[in-house]
């Protein structure tokens, strides 16, 4: 199973680093919801971390972001729940950071990389899937702002100019 463009989001109930349980209904007040599959140890996540935080802050009044980490913490201890809590604190994540310990949610979404972005509109239909932009290496040389463009157009009630890109990052570390 996976979430495909034009299809509805899948429900989940996952624990956040603040100890609270979160589900998509917690973000019902926002017209757009971004679900990003995330982790601590991947350098691509680190490369995109500040850009993701900046976008989440910029769109905070109209877009909810939620990050989900499913990586096997036995082989990748940096991705343990305790280290997730530490990273979220250290970087002051402006979004919930959730632990998919069973990996079921990540499998159900069909996510395979970190970071991998899924953008849902008001009816919680998938409208963009893929990477944040076209340059992981150098933020100043970005030419295509895929995620930002998707958010702006969706908030204007329009179709994102590009709806799908190839996610770039580390593979999800399955158990």
């Amino acid at each position: 199973m996976s979430v495909e463009l034009g299809k509805p989001m899948l429900d989940f109930q996952l624990r956040g680093v603040d100890g609270r349980m979160y589900s998509p209904s917690d973000f019902a007040d926002k017209p757009v919801l971004v679900v990003v599959f995330w982790c601590n140890h991947c350098p691509y996540v680190r490369a995109y971390e500040d850009r993701t935080i900046a976008l989440a802050k910029e769109f905070a009044d109209r877009v909810a972001f939620v990050a989900i980490n499913a990586n096997d913490a036995v082989k990748y201890p940096e991705d343990s729940f305790e280290n997730m809590q530490a990273r979220a604190r250290e970087k002051a994540y402006p979004f919930p950071y959730l632990h998919d310990e069973s990996q079921q949610v990540t499998r159900a979404y069909g996510a395979s990389r970190t970071p991998e972005f899924f953008v849902f509109d008001q009816s919680r239909t998938l409208r963009y899937h893929g990477r944040l932009d076209d340059n992981w290496e150098n933020p100043s040389e970005v030419r295509q702002h895929y995620l930002r463009d998707a958010l702006l157009t969706l908030l204007n009630g329009q179709e994102p100019p590009i709806t799908q890109t190839e996610p770039i990052g580390c593979s999800v570390k399955w158990k």
Partner: protein, 113 residues
């Protein structure tokens, strides 16, 4: 100079890493073939002391060695001079390692090392 680029194919950074290695060698005036080693199993990761992709060695000297990390199949994080975290080393990190290796070699030849 023996140059090794050891990579895990699931991690997309190795092609960019290869470009950077070639740029660094050229900038330091070193002519060398780059041997690529593909790591696909945990046993291979152990054998090559591979903490993540890409692992780059010049005459066995590793760029940004992080000996506290376990050997495993994943991407590797490099901290650049400006503090940025990246899936590939900076050109400066590569050039500095090459310079160190050349300096060691010079010392060995001159007997001052």
């Amino acid at each position: 100079m023996k140059v090794q680029l050891i990579y895990y194919p699931d991690c997309p950074s190795h092609e960019r890493a290869m470009e950077l290695v070639r740029q660094a060698l050229q900038a330091e005036g070193v002519q060398a073939e780059v041997e690529t080693v593909r790591i696909e199993t945990e046993a291979e990761a152990q054998r090559y002391r591979f903490i993540g992709s890409p692992t780059i060695r010049f005459n066995g000297v590793e760029v940004d060695p992080l000996p506290h990390l376990p050997y495993r199949l994943t991407c590797r994080t490099f901290r650049h001079e400006d503090g940025r975290l990246s899936p590939v080393p900076s050109l400066t990190m590569l050039r500095t390692t090459i310079q160190r290796v050349l300096e060691e070699k010079r010392k060995d030849v001159s007997g001052t090392g």
